[in-house]
Amino acid sequence: MIRNWGLRYGGTVVLFIGIGFFLLTVMRGLSTYTSTYGFVLPGNVMLPITPLMSWPPRDCRMWLRVNGTVDVLILDESGHLSFLNGEEPYPLMEYRNLKGNVLVFKIPIRGQLCLLVRNRGEKAVEGEVVITLSGLESDLVFLSLLTLIAGVVLWIMGYLAWRKTVNP
């Protein structure tokens, strides 16, 4: 009896949590965020143009304006640490030979990420990057769907078990 009751109780609570996650996902997904970073890069130099920041896994539109050719690298925390230690970083994403393009990509994971620009030419380059984040956060979507499904399944299991005890 306690098990049936527990399943229905847990199912209802988890279902409400799922609805909460879903509403939070939609609320956070409705807002867009834009930030601009300028850079001046001497020849054969790689520099981070953003600090190590927490990024949500959303659609990212990056507009690059530069008076030369650069590579853009996106590093996670360990990649950033490698870069700080003077090692060649292993980027999550790398775009080479960009001359002022619009890049559209999905940020792969939630966590601390950093944007690097590399100038492989001899001449100094100058430019700016405009980053716009939009859309739903993929991990929150997954979490809300998972909790909603878990809530429904638990509640139905509890209901069926209760029906069984009432009408054996």
Binding site: W5, T12, G20, L23, M27, S31, Q112
Partner: protein
């Protein structure tokens, strides 16, 4: 554990911490997690985590906790006084302790899970020491409001008083901090108290108000409930 105590706890959940009430409370608390929708600079510190889960969200937690405890203790006692007996076949001390256990278990678990979720949402990782510290602080701050609600519920047996008194204390404390010209919230002071030890009059005052007073109120309420109220 004694089966009647387990049944009593279940009864407590069914009557006062119903699944819909608890679920709706958590839903609202999730919606009020105050994390900027986009990028945050650097690593998330404990005080950042505290600010994401504080403010209006804290007030909601205290309000929900106070209402549930008022229903649990005050209305139950009022009903029992009217009927001149308790319908539960267990000792009064067991009733008090099981009610208290259920309530505090829910408060601590809810705070822990929501703070862990906030930490993950803000930084993509679970900062264990920060999560535990913030949960401890939130629980200590909740304790005063919970103890006041229980005390008013049992001793005064007034629903309105046991909801309004903790709320007035909450706003008075905020006003007092403003009056002292401090930039801290009450949670900030308790965090300082927990992480850095006693330092200054405000921390000492917070320790007395939020740790000693709730314990004293709970002990008094327990004795009043078991020794003075003539129920059974």
């Amino acid at each position: 554990m004694d089966r009647s105590i387990v049944e009593l706890m279940r009864f407590e959940f069914e009557r006062f911490w119903t699944a819909k009430y608890l679920g709706f409370m958590i839903l609202l608390l999730i919606l009020f997690i105050n994390i900027p929708a986009t990028i945050l600079p650097g690593a998330i510190s404990t005080s950042d985590l505290m600010s994401f889960t504080g403010g209006f969200r804290s007030l909601l937690v205290y309000l929900f906790v106070t209402i549930a405890l008022t229903n649990s203790f005050c209305n139950d006692v009022k009903q029992s006084v009217m009927m001149d007996e308790f319908t539960n076949p267990v000792r009064k001390s067991a009733i008090f302790i099981s009610k208290l256990l259920v309530s505090f278990l829910i408060i601590i678990l809810m705070n822990l899970l929501l703070i862990a979720f906030s930490s993950w949402l803000a930084s993509g990782s679970l900062l264990l020491s920060s999560i535990l510290l913030v949960t401890l602080v939130q629980t200590i701050v909740s304790m005063l409001f919970a103890a006041l609600a229980i005390f008013m519920g049992i001793v005064v047996q007034s629903t309105i008083a046991s909801i309004l008194t903790p709320l007035s204390i909450y706003f008075l404390e905020g006003y007092f901090m403003l009056f002292l010209g401090l930039n801290y919230s009450v949670e900030g002071v308790i965090l300082h108290l927990v992480s850095a030890g006693l330092d200054g009059m405000v921390a000492l005052f917070a320790a007395i108000i939020h740790v000693s007073l709730p314990i004293a109120l709970l002990v008094f309420s327990f004795l009043f409930f078991t020794e003075v109220l003539e129920l059974d």
